[in-house]
């Protein structure tokens, strides 16, 4: 199947449209089946993927607006492959664990539309098509937060939309400028990424464009100080909204850095390592401290999610194969772990309709299964060895160590601080005596919830112990990327920092 990427993008779209016909009573099964088929299709993509090839595969190219160089141009490499699989997996898990009752049909259809946008972002190789999916993803998310959210849902939904929209419009102007430069150099319009990669820009232009793209991506990640929309969005969103938001939508930003900023502006990226790293470190430490101060479990998870995104950014800007591979692996692990944590918080919220830690205590004795799974996910989030969280975090930091040991040390506090707030959350809610009367008869996880969570636990442990099947394809593509950047970089500083060192190759 050569056009599997198109199938992946449009299958959920067709399914969403057909979903309008399916009866409300059977819609849950329909949603699960569709999400499962989509997940299997993405696994097939992995199966058919040539893991030794670092370049783009399954390329599709159809002219869309040829006068203006906009083409339907898709492709996938090791970097995007696993994010796609993670996106389909988390959608499936989200649909299985879905606990809303109101307007279930609308919810499922909206989720399917969202899935179209998510897959679309990660497979497009044309900037405008990328932008199209990127912006379109806002609409279903707006509806999910706004329709099924908490008390301040409308405010949270609008804030989410406007923040991202404003940032991405600046990015769009950046894209149009790159296209303009490409046009004046080559005489034809093109928004194809592979064409843009070939474009060597002067450093002064790179610097401006770097910040234009940075704004779009940084708001999405979200990086300090643009992160203020996220706690609101998470605080108000229904469980499934938070799961998808944390697991996949935030990755669009960090993926954007790898896909656009690094290969297109290698010199500017190197020039701005320090400011970006400082923002990332502030983000790691500051939001970790904020997380510790929260009383609401979901807010703890939300801020911890921001904090860990900082590690991903640090890894990306390490500019060497370890760092970038680590950051991409960390994207996957962050997606799975924070998705699972949001699901777990959702479980307890469904039972008690509160997320305040002070309302709980001693849950471990009432809900043992819940406590075990929560514990595993928490350890993975902190980055305990032999869990998925360790590998990404370690590689990212190890990569950045070559750039700046001091900053790596500061960034490494994420592990310690993470342990502090996560363990205190665990202590407050799970240990000690059961104080509240209402908590004594809480039901443990039921089959539906186990069905959603157990696969995630399995993945967390499997990839924690044996990450090679995932790490190798990522590493191949990243190495290709890094050596490309090394070729392209013009300034001596950039050449020095972007390392395709021989010692690396010999070590293998």
């Amino acid at each position: 199947m050569e056009n599997i990427l198109s199938v992946l993008v449009f299958f959920p779209l067709v399914a969403a449209l057909l979903g309008f016909v399916v009866h409300e009573k059977s819609i849950r099964v329909y949603g699960i089946s569709v999400a499962a088929i989509e997940f299997i299709l993405s696994l097939w993509l992995w199966f058919a993927f040539d893991t030794s090839n670092g370049g783009f595969q399954f390329i599709e190219f159809i002219p869309l607006i040829s006068d203006f160089g906009i083409n339907y141009y898709l492709g996938v490499d090791g970097i995007s492959l696993f994010i796609i699989i993670m996106a389909t997996l988390m959608t499936l898990i989200g649909v299985i664990g879905l606990s809303v009752v109101k307007d279930l049909k609308n919810m499922i259809i909206t989720l399917l539309f969202l899935e179209v946008a998510m897959i679309g972002v990660f497979v497009s190789l044309d900037a405008i098509v990328f932008y199209l999916f990127w912006e379109f993803s806002l609409v279903p998310m707006l509806y999910i937060i706004g329709a099924w959210g908490g008390e301040k849902r409308v405010y949270a939904a609008i804030k989410f939309f406007l923040y991202t929209f404003a940032g991405s419009l600046i990015m769009l102007i950046g894209m149009l400028y790159v296209a303009y430069v490409y046009h004046s150099v080559s005489g034809v319009w093109s928004f194809a990424l592979t064409d843009w990669y070939a474009l060597v820009l002067p450093l002064s232009v790179q610097k401006w464009l770097f910040w234009a793209f940075f704004l779009g991506f940084a708001i999405k990640v979200p990086m300090f100080p643009f992160h203020t929309w996220l706690p609101y969005a998470h605080g108000q969103a229904p469980t499934v909204g938070s799961v998808i938001l944390a697991a996949v939508l935030l990755k669009m930003g960090s993926y954007g850095f790898v896909r656009f900023s690094l290969p297109m502006f290698p010199d500017a990226s190197v020039a701005y390592i320090t400011p970006v790293a400082i923002i990332a470190i502030v983000m790691i430490i500051y939001t970790a401290m904020v997380a510790y101060a929260q009383e609401d479990m979901k807010q703890v998870v939300a801020y911890s999610s921001v904090s860990h995104m900082g590690v991903i950014v640090i890894g990306t800007f390490a500019m060497n194969a370890e760092g970038i591979t680590g950051s991409i692996f960390q994207m996957l692990s962050h997606g799975i772990v924070s998705g699972a944590l949001f699901l777990l918080v959702g479980v307890i919220y469904d039972r008690r309709h509160t997320k305040l830690m002070s309302e709980f205590g001693g849950l471990a004795s009432v809900m043992p299964k819940f406590a075990v799974i929560f514990g595993i996910m928490l350890m993975a989030s902190v980055g305990l060895p032999l869990t998925i969280g360790f590998i990404g975090e370690y590689l990212s930091l190890a990569g950045f160590f070559k750039v700046s040991p001091v900053m790596t040390l500061l960034a490494g506090t994420s592990i310690i601080l993470g342990a502090v707030y996560m363990l205190s959350l665990y202590k407050k809610s799970f240990f000690g005596p059961v104080v509240k009367e209402e908590n004594k008869n809480l039901k443990d996880l039921d089959k539906k919830e186990l069905g959603a969570l157990v696969p995630l636990v399995a993945i967390v442990i499997w990839l924690g112990i044996y990450p090679k099947p995932v790490l190798v394809p990522i590493d191949n593509s990243v190495k290709a990327l890094v050596s490309f950047m090394h070729e392209k970089a013009k300034t001596p500083e950039a050449k020095a920092i972007i390392k395709v060192s021989k010692s690396n190759k010999e070590a293998e």
Binding site: Y131, G146, A157, F165, L169, I170, L172, I173, L176
Partner: protein
């Protein structure tokens, strides 16, 4: 003794006038039918009008580019054909909106339809000439017909709107004439191609700068009134509110396209001559218009008034492209309006569907936001379609206006005005707020009791028109390529 004037028919080149002749003939035909046979149903006139417009459309399409006719007064260049086509498409979509289930005053008169056709002819004359007097005649024919049509809605608000528009329009006409006089004073001609030549020669004379720029400023004021640029916009929201919803939608498109073409012709040659103060003036007006109109749209309580301010802001957006003076920028104006036409007319048609003769849910407004609360529960299809129009106006891909915005901003970037592009981008983000407000009301708020049924005015023709608009808005990505290559071709053969 005077020599008898002999003019050969061939030299008149009447073919260039064919589109206007068709539509004027159609208008007279409707009057004649009314004269001979009373009490015909409005459906007859609606269909006749559509047929006339259809023939007109064919006649316009068959025009050959860059011809002059009628003593060189009529100019058929690419942009005149393009704008005539846009005017006709908008008119054909507009006229079936009179087939509502409730009966409204204006449609019971056949004169409405013939006035409408005269108005279309006026707009066509306006865009198909570079003679200042001919443009003026077209402008006034169209405007006078338009004032009357607004008044025919026959509510207190519509009479007020009509008078307001008339007064402001008269003022605009005054400025136009003064501007034309100023241009004539410097150049001794009212033919713009002559004017440009004379200006070129006289540019460097001492003391000539003020009269030259003065003419442009007066013209800019007249254009500003018609396109409703801030600060010449004060009539817009009230007039939109007073007229019927489709009329308001029509006014946000057709008069603006026509005036934009006039602006391209008049201001275009100033900018082309390199008179930078005019260019900066246009950019300044454009920036002020899009920014302030956005701010004011945010605080509106009525959807129709919000759309009025929103269409002002869109006009400002497009006006910015006018100052760039590149083929791409001029093409982007037409692409933008071509897409805006469907979306905006669709949005106003949705308001029309929900229009009641005697509203009882709000003391002041016909279309308060609260009327649309919870529409997703009572009329899911309507809510989704309205949301599509709003998202398109916001500029969310893949809906049509995204492509328009993309092209306008791209033209701005190409011309080197990055700061302007950034302002345009940020303005789009601000605009998202008030468009989303309606979406939020429709999708996220519980229905208000008492609003009961929304689609009181729904009828098959209205649904068809809204359906066409929604279809074009949603699937626009597939029509951009042919549209763009046609528009770029037409604009570039006109020499812009």
């Amino acid at each position: 003794m005077l020599q008898p004037i002999s003019v050969s028919m061939a030299s008149l080149n009447l073919a260039t006038l064919a589109p206007m002749l068709v539509v004027v003939g159609g208008a007279l035909l409707i009057l004649l039918i009314d004269l001979l046979k009373k009490n015909m149903d409005k459906t007859l006139y609606v269909m006749l009008a559509i047929l006339v417009l259809f023939v007109d459309f064919g006649a316009t399409l068959s025009l050959s580019v860059n011809e002059r006719g009628f003593f060189d007064i009529v100019l058929v260049d690419g942009i005149s054909i393009l704008s005539q086509l846009l005017i006709l498409v908008a008119s054909m979509l507009f006229i079936p909106l009179s087939l509502t289930t409730s009966r409204f005053h204006e449609y019971s008169y056949p004169e409405f339809f013939s006035l409408f056709l005269f108005m279309v002819a006026g707009f066509q004359f306006m865009v198909a000439s570079d003679n200042l007097i001919m443009i003026f005649i077209g402008l006034e024919t169209a405007s006078l017909a338009l004032y009357t049509i607004i008044a025919m809605h026959n509510t207190e608000a519509s009479l007020e709107a009509s008078i307001k528009y008339f007064t402001m329009g008269a003022m605009a006409a005054g400025f136009y004439v003064m501007g034309a006089a100023a241009i004539y004073a410097v150049s001794g001609s009212i033919e713009l191609y002559d004017v440009a030549k004379v200006f070129q020669v006289r540019m460097d004379e001492p003391g000539i700068y003020i009269p030259i720029v003065g003419g442009a400023v007066l013209m800019l004021i007249a254009i500003g009134f018609k396109v409703s640029l801030i600060p010449f916009h004060t009539w817009t929201p009230d007039v939109y509110e007073g007229s019927s919803a489709p009329m308001a939608g029509y006014m946000s498109i057709v008069p603006k396209i026509s005036m934009m073409v006039v602006a391209i012709r008049i201001l275009g040659f100033y900018i082309d001559l390199g008179i930078d103060s005019v260019r900066m003036l246009v950019i300044a007006l454009a920036v002020i218009t899009m920014t302030l109109a956005n701010m004011m749209a945010i605080v509106q309580a009525d959807v129709k008034r919000m759309l009025a301010y929103s269409s002002m802001s869109h006009a400002g957006f497009v006006m910015a492209a006018l100052a760039l003076d590149t083929t791409k920028a001029y093409s982007s104006i037409f692409l933008y309006y071509g897409l805006f036409l469907f979306t905006n007319l669709g949005a106003f048609a949705m308001l029309w569907i929900s229009r009641r003769k005697n509203p009882n849910y709000h003391e002041r407004y016909h279309h308060p936001y609260s009327k649309f609360a919870g529409l997703i529960h009572s009329a899911p299809m309507g809510a989704v379609i309205m949301a599509i129009f709003m998202l398109s106006l916001t500029g969310v891909p893949p809906f049509s206006l995204f492509w328009g915005k993309l092209y306008v901003i791209s033209a701005t970037v190409d011309a080197g005005y990055i700061w302007l592009a950034v302002i345009m981008g940020l303005n789009s983000a601000v605009a998202a707020f008030y468009y989303l407000k309606l979406v939020v009301y429709m999708f996220l708020k519980p229905p208000v009791s008492g609003a009961a049924e929304i689609a009181v005015n729904k009828s098959k023709p209205l649904v068809v028109i809204v359906g066409i608009a929604a279809l074009v808005t949603t699937l626009s990505v597939f029509i951009i390529q042919p549209l763009l290559s046609y528009i770029s071709y037409m604009v570039s053969v006109s020499g812009y």
